[in-house]
């Protein structure tokens, strides 16, 4: 009795367990999960993993090459690079998660309004989104921080705002697809309220593309934070950030290349893991893209 044709965008999420298992069975998905898992572990257990206090300077051990004590070497103030990277993971993850939450929350709201109610609201929302979208991410984020002032909270807000349009667009497009399906017409024909339809039928059915977008946006947000910190308008000292560590390392590239190599490696691995995970998630959730 099984039907061969699968529903287009809204394949059931048959419980989180089997979704995770499906991801794990996919080689790319597994690689992404391991990478992301490691970074999250670093972030959560930073105080136990780090070998030294983050800001602790040691004038006798400046520019120490990687050794048994300082696994990743030390920087120009004699601070342990490994410890700073571990705490930097925490900053990256927090900034990423908070910024993406802001973006996803507002994006969902705007996308839902634009896609479901259409008309004037949609034109206005999409016009504002197009304007935000027209600016390069980093430029706009830097501008917002310049206006609001330099702080970790403002960095998160800035990255969040910059990412709202892509969520709005994703949500709006999915809502429009779902909205025109027969089961929404059917839900209306049995007398359900608009709000009930929105939350009980539309939202669960757009979850798949939304989740994929959130995962991919996380890597983008982390990269934006690193770039802003590199430019000096992101995370401010003494808080450690991979981006600002990289920035500090520029002056000592020949003298102490490990200052640059390790933060760079961590940025690359983190972004790559999130991207791979996002792609794998999309493949699992949308069978149509599997070739």
């Amino acid at each position: 009795m099984k039907r061969e044709k699968k529903p287009v965008i809204n394949r059931a999420l048959p419980g989180n367990e089997s979704l995770l298992r499906q991801l794990w069975n996919d080689p790319m998905g597994r690689a992404g999960m391991i990478g992301v898992g490691l970074v999250i572990l670093l972030a959560v257990f930073a105080p136990w993993i780090a070998r030294f206090e983050v800001g602790k300077m040691n004038s006798k051990a400046r520019f120490a090459a990687p050794n048994a004590t300082f696994w990743f070497g030390t920087d120009n103030f004699g601070r342990d690079i490994f410890s700073r990277i571990v705490y930097g993971a925490r900053v990256s993850i927090i900034v990423g998660v908070v910024a993406v939450s802001i973006a996803a929350g507002f994006g969902y709201l705007f996308g839902l309004i634009a896609g479901f109610f259409e008309g004037k609201a949609e034109s206005v929302i999409m016009m504002v989104m197009d304007i935000i979208f027209a600016f390069p991410h980093i430029l706009l984020a830097l501008f917002i921080v310049a206006v609001l002032g330099k702080s970790i909270v403002n960095t998160m807000i800035a990255i969040g705002i910059v990412n709202i349009p892509v969520f709005t667009r994703t949500v709006r497009a999915s809502v429009k697809t779902v909205k025109s399906t027969d089961y929404i017409a059917n839900a209306r024909s049995i007398g359900l309220k608009k709000m009930a339809i929105l939350f009980r039928h539309v939202t669960p059915n757009i979850l798949a593309p939304f989740t994929v977008q959130a995962t991919l946006a996380l890597s983008g947000a982390i990269l934006t934070e690193a770039s802003m910190s590199f430019l000096g308008l992101g995370i401010q000292p003494p808080d450690p950030s991979w981006g600002s560590m990289l920035s500090d390392a520029r002056k000592y590239m020949e003298q102490a290349p490990w200052m640059a190599i390790f933060p760079a490696v961590f940025i690359i691995v983190t972004i790559l893991s999130f991207n791979i995970l996002g792609d794998a998630l999309r493949d699992v959730l949308d069978p149509k893209l599997k070739l």
């Binding site: 009795m1 099984k2 039907r3 044709k5 699968k6 529903p7 809204n10 394949r11 059931a12 999420l13 259409e118 008309g119 025109s180 399906t181 027969d182 089961y183 017409a185 059917n186 839900a187 209306r188 024909s189 049995i190 007398g191 359900l192 309220k193 009930a196 009980r200 039928h201 669960p204 059915n205």
Partner: protein, 330 residues
């Protein structure tokens, strides 16, 4: 009120750019109690939007520009188009319900059949307990001849076949005992053997309950099998309306004749399949004369200049054609 539903002078328009385009033009319909009423016509004639207008759920940018729809509800006569949102929601599903063309996509793919049947119940009967809802759902599945109802309740839509899903759709539509069922091409997506079963089921259920059915279809075979009264739609108008026997035996309008000739039949000598030349003129491109004139073999000069009126040519048989009556549309 003698009829269950009375539609008067209904006009539906859509927006094309900034201008309004007429899609349904001055339609009058009376649906009697306990009647199966057929609406037939080609795609784009305004059949489905009429049904959607009755439920007051026309999709944007379509809107009702004129007319009224009166409905004889259990709590007295109501004007469907003048109801507020809350009142129309109470009508939907409880008084009037609807089934759609594609059973495969008419159920939400992420919920079980059970959840979706409960949803229809819970909204209109908030006090119902889960056990009562389960009993009612099982009863309905029995009535639509679903084998293994308990197992079906726990299934997801993709685990069921098209015929089963359409039975479930009918069960959901009838779960609150509506008095009017709008069936928008309910068998088009099903294969022929299943079609007959579904049509018979709908007929049986109509007899058991005090329900009228509006059967929207492009298939005259379906009409012949299920309906008592038929209205033929063409380009947003009713062109002929009669009792089903009268319509088939004393066909008056050339368009209805064309539809009848286009029905394929088994047996008899094989011949070229008859087609009506041309297409239905879309809204906004209607001529001032008869809208069927360009495709009509018996078209005259007069047909292009004036619009014939829908007049009664014999008791209960209305037709819009100068061949039968000289009357001109006001």
């Amino acid at each position: 009120m003698n009829n269950l539903l009375e539609i008067r002078n209904l006009r539906i328009t859509t927006l094309r750019g900034k201008s309004k385009v007429l899609l349904l033009d001055k339609v009058d319909l009376d649906i009697p109690h306990k009647c199966s009423f057929g609406i037939v016509g080609e795609s784009g004639c305004g059949k489905s939007i009429t049904a959607n207008a009755i439920m007051n759920m026309l999709p944007y940018p379509l809107s009702i520009s004129d007319g009224d729809i009166r409905y004889d509800s259990r709590n007295g006569e109501v004007e469907l188009l003048k109801l507020d949102k809350k009142a129309i929601r109470a009508i939907r599903g409880q008084e009037i319900s609807m089934i759609f063309q594609e059973p495969m996509t008419s159920l939400d793919p992420i919920f079980t059949v059970e959840m979706q049947m409960y949803e229809a119940l819970a909204f209109h009967h908030p006090a119902m307990t889960r056990q009562e809802m389960r009993d009612r759902a099982l009863e309905m599945l029995h009535r639509v001849n679903i084998p293994r109802p308990e197992q079906t309740l726990a299934s997801y839509p993709h685990q069921l076949s098209g015929g089963q899903l359409q039975r479930i759709m009918i069960a959901i539509a009838l779960i609150n005992d509506p008095r009017l069922l709008l069936a928008d091409e309910p068998t088009t997506a099903l294969d022929v053997t299943i079609q007959a079963q579904i049509l018979r089921l709908m007929n049986d259920l109509k007899e058991q309950n005090d329900t009228s059915i509006v059967m929207i279809t492009h298939d005259l075979g379906v009409i012949a099998e299920t309906c008592e009264e038929v209205a033929v739609f063409y380009a947003g108008q009713i062109v002929e309306q009669a009792n089903v026997m009268e319509l088939f035996h004393h066909t008056a309008h050339p368009y209805t004749l064309g539809l009848l000739q286009a029905v394929t039949s088994l047996g008899g000598e094989s011949r070229m399949l008859y087609t009506i030349p041309g297409i239905v003129p879309p809204g906004g491109q209607w001529s001032q004369g008869c809208r069927f004139a360009d495709r009509c073999a018996r078209c005259t000069e007069r047909c292009r200049e004036a619009m014939p009126a829908l007049t009664e040519i014999s008791p209960g048989h209305k037709c819009r054609c100068f061949l039968n009556s000289e009357e001109v549309e006001a």
